[in-house]
């Protein structure tokens, strides 16, 4: 069953899911995890930046070019039809992942950033001066800057709801920002810098009451728990393939069908037209209207393979595994003297952002790197959020399905080593 990303789904996994998750045998599916880094066992904890790829996804890319490569939507020849079928099957896989009503509600894009820019440059063009877009203080730059550019073009106003000290959206402030001029609420499903799982269904209900649409940045969500766009009742849902074990350069945007029908084209070119003449052109129906030019066909097909992979394990099982690992990592990190978490929301997924007294996150990142532990250090493309907490950045460990207790051991040992080295 495809339940939405909920408190129940993440924090109280079913016993069967917990049992399956505890075994966590999936690291062997990822060839890169077997390579040493800096002569150490690799503990890859930078999954918020990008995830590693299972053999099946790598093979799907190779298979496509070895067995199926042709251009799509235009061939009378067999291979073209075959490639088209694979590409459209991948669209159905994405629709299945998000529980979208129809595969024609899914537009292939390069990633979350392009998806958000697409919405800003198509739907957003209808905004009038004084219209408002509401985001939150915890957004990634890719869910801030496209709206700033749109506001500069249209005279619309970008507002931002506050985040509490624990890293949750301040719902009172959010409600006070919502008003009759709010046309769109755009927010992360899961914060890339804090790990907070936002109450999207609740936010959507509030936005609906105010007459606003809702865009959800699902970049940090789709790989970590079941997502259901119908249960969330959102209008747009964006994600990147490379953060769900797929290739880089491919992602998807779900658009509610009634909105997609009316959306003006974006980039012009081949594949997005119905007819072209110098008197005027007409546009293709459905998602193709937004997929001008030859798309990343192999990438889409391999994304389909990645979705098959996570669904073969089961997103509830993955959620249970990561949730248990996050709980352990949180407990063990907090047991270290001088370690402070940034982002302590009641409902979190897979991300541990932290500071160590007396050690800059960048130094910590270098020392952990020499232990084979890959983390991210910096502002995580969320500079307004760092400013809100009064810090230049954090160290961030982010989990994926292949992480195990050994990775947490390496993280904790690396932090202790850094503390010893720095004498703190």
């Amino acid at each position: 069953m495809n339940a939405p990303l909920t408190l129940e789904g993440v924090l109280r996994p079913a016993a069967a899911d917990q049992a399956a998750a505890a075994a966590a045998p999936w690291a062997a599916d990822f060839p890169i995890l077997a390579r040493p880094v800096r002569a150490r066992r690799l503990a890859y904890l930078d999954n918020g930046a990008t995830t590693q790829k299972p053999q099946g996804v790598i093979q799907a890319l190779a298979d496509f070019y070895e067995q199926s490569n042709a251009n799509i939507h235009r061939g009378v020849h067999w291979l073209s039809q075959h490639a088209t079928d694979l590409y459209e099957q991948a669209r159905s896989r994405v629709a299945g992942l998000l529980n979208a009503p129809n595969s024609q509600d899914v537009i292939f894009v390069r990633g979350t950033t392009e998806a958000i820019n697409l919405v800003a440059q198509t739907w957003g063009q209808s905004l009038a001066p004084g219209d408002e877009i509401l985001v939150t203080d915890m957004e990634h730059h890719s869910n801030i800057v496209p709206w700033q550019l749109l506001c500069a073009r249209t005279g619309a106003v970008l507002r931002h709801a506050r985040v509490t000290d624990s890293g949750e959206i301040d719902l009172d402030d959010f409600r006070s920002c919502l008003n009759a001029r709010t046309r769109l609420v755009a927010l992360a499903h899961v914060s890339n810098a804090l790990g907070t799982v936002n109450p999207v269904a609740e936010i959507t209900r509030l936005a609906r009451e105010a007459g606003a649409l809702v865009l959800v940045d699902g970049a940090q969500a789709v790989a970590h728990a079941p997502v259901d766009v119908q249960a969330l009742d959102c209008d747009f849902y964006a994600f990147s393939g490379h953060k769900i074990y797929g290739p880089t350069g491919i992602g998807a945007l779900y658009v509610r069908a009634s909105i997609l029908q009316k959306l003006a084209p974006w980039q012009g070119g081949g594949d997005m037209i119905h007819t072209v003449s110098f008197e005027g052109s007409t546009w293709a129906e459905g998602p193709q209207r937004f997929e001008a030019g030859t798309p990343n066909i192999a990438g889409a097909v391999a994304l389909g393979a990645a979705i098959d992979y996570v669904q073969s394990i089961g997103l509830p099982v993955i959620a249970a595994h990561e949730s248990a690992l996050l709980a352990e990592a949180t407990e063990r990190m907090l047991a270290l003297p001088g370690v402070r978490l940034v982002g302590t929301a009641r409902h979190k997924a897979g991300i541990l952002s932290f500071l160590v007294d007396g050690i800059h996150p960048h130094d910590l990142g270098t020392i952990l790197d020499t232990e084979g532990v890959a983390i991210r250090a910096g502002h995580h493309c969320a500079m307004p959020l760092m400013a809100r907490f009064g810090i230049p950045g954090t160290a961030r460990a982010s989990l994926a399905l292949y992480n195990t207790q050994a990775d947490i051991d390496a993280l904790v040992a690396g932090v202790r080593k850094a503390q010893k080295l720095f004498g703190v």
Binding site: R38, H360, H362, D363, T366, H379, P392, G393, F422
Partner: protein, 150 residues
Amino acid sequence: MRDTDDGLRDLYQEVIFDHNRNPRNFHAMPDASHQADGHNPLCGDQLTVYARVADGIVQEASFVGHGCAISTASASLMTEAVRGQPIEEVERLFRNIHQMLTEAHPDCDLGKLEVLSGVREFPARVKCATLAWHTLHNAITQARDVAVTE
């Protein structure tokens, strides 16, 4: 093969820790003749470098800001190294430091600044070590440009 721990010890030498914990000349300079801001957007390091130049000689240099141990120590060491030096010598030092961090060791002894040479093994950290130097270079050359156009 050299162990990465050796590289780590070369990077974080005691002098680096000392200057990180107790940065020298760590203050604003109200009577500075030259100043510039430096920012490393990748890691959020931010600093302002000040210099008081008279008769073509850096009488005094200082800095404020926040950053990692490498950028803080590099800035601190720099303010000591350039004090009393002619501007031409400061520019020569800047080029030599840059070369030491990015290519091969230059054909000269860089004295106390040699402690930064371990950074070369960590390409992701080179910008941390050069930030203060780029900022000082900008401070000095920008002011010169202004002087030329006048």
